[in-house]
């Protein structure tokens, strides 16, 4: 039961260009969305989040867009840097209260070419 879907397994972009990572979800009860970055042999590292009351959140080079009607969110990285090469996981939760477990997508491997 894939409630959070990252349909593209990989993405390759040139350094300095924009990286756009997409994520779709099926559970309309999700109201909080997060992106995590993961390097090999390390745990996921929180990157950026967005609440369902917003449609955009920006933090430096990272911007997350949420389209609730389409149940779609995307992470934009601009400009992309070689150090951004990692696996990016989209995650969602139903609430930020007691039981806000995260449901993860399968991840997208981003490669930024120098």
């Amino acid at each position: 039961d894939q409630q959070v879907k990252q349909n593209s397994p990989s993405l390759s972009v040139q350094e300095g260009r924009i990286s756009i990572l997409n994520c779709d979800y099926t559970n309309s009860m999700f109201d909080y969305f997060l992106w995590y970055k993961k390097y090999p042999a390390e745990g996921p590292t929180f990157l950026i989040s967005i609440s369902s009351i917003k449609d955009k959140n920006e933090d430096g080079r990272f911007t997350v867009f949420l389209n609730k009607s389409a149940k779609h969110l995307s992470l934009h990285i601009v400009p992309s840097q070689p150090g951004d090469s990692a696996v990016y996981f989209c995650a969602a939760s139903k609430e930020t209260g007691a039981n806000s477990k995260l449901t993860f997508g399968k991840g997208i491997t981003l490669s930024v070419r120098p």
Partner: protein, 115 residues
């Protein structure tokens, strides 16, 4: 910067043996989680823990699994009789519990290999 720490980083065990994975969450965090990632697959929720009891568990978290917070700092995951399919990376995570801050902070993981 405070971080979640996990031990061991890698454990190899024989099928049927008991394994205990240990975690020290960030000190002022109130909610604790175990996730796992089988090689090449997504990160899967196992269990959440709050106020010294399990809040929620997935169907993966069967009777072979248990969690404990024995001393107010450590948070352990025990697998009573390991199976080959338990081979995975196990991640501990914690969260503050403050409203509006749903992000989990993850440890670096414990790789379990069951032979």
């Amino acid at each position: 910067e405070p971080e979640v720490t996990q031990t061991p980083s890698h454990q190899v065990t024989q099928m049927g043996q008991e394994v205990i994975l240990r975690c020290v969450p960030i000190s002022n965090h109130l909610y604790f989680y175990w996730y796992r990632q089988i090689l090449g697959q997504k990160v899967e929720f196992l269990v959440s823990f709050y106020n010294n009891e399990i809040s929620e568990k997935s169907e993966i978290f069967d009777d072979q699994f248990s969690v404990e917070r024995p001393d107010g700092s450590n948070f352990t995951l025990k697998i009573r009789s390991t199976k080959l399919e338990d081979s995975a990376m196990y991640f501990c995570a914690s969260r503050t519990g403050l409203a509006g801050t749903g992000e989990l902070f993850f440890g670096e993981g414990s790789r379990l290999t069951v032979l």
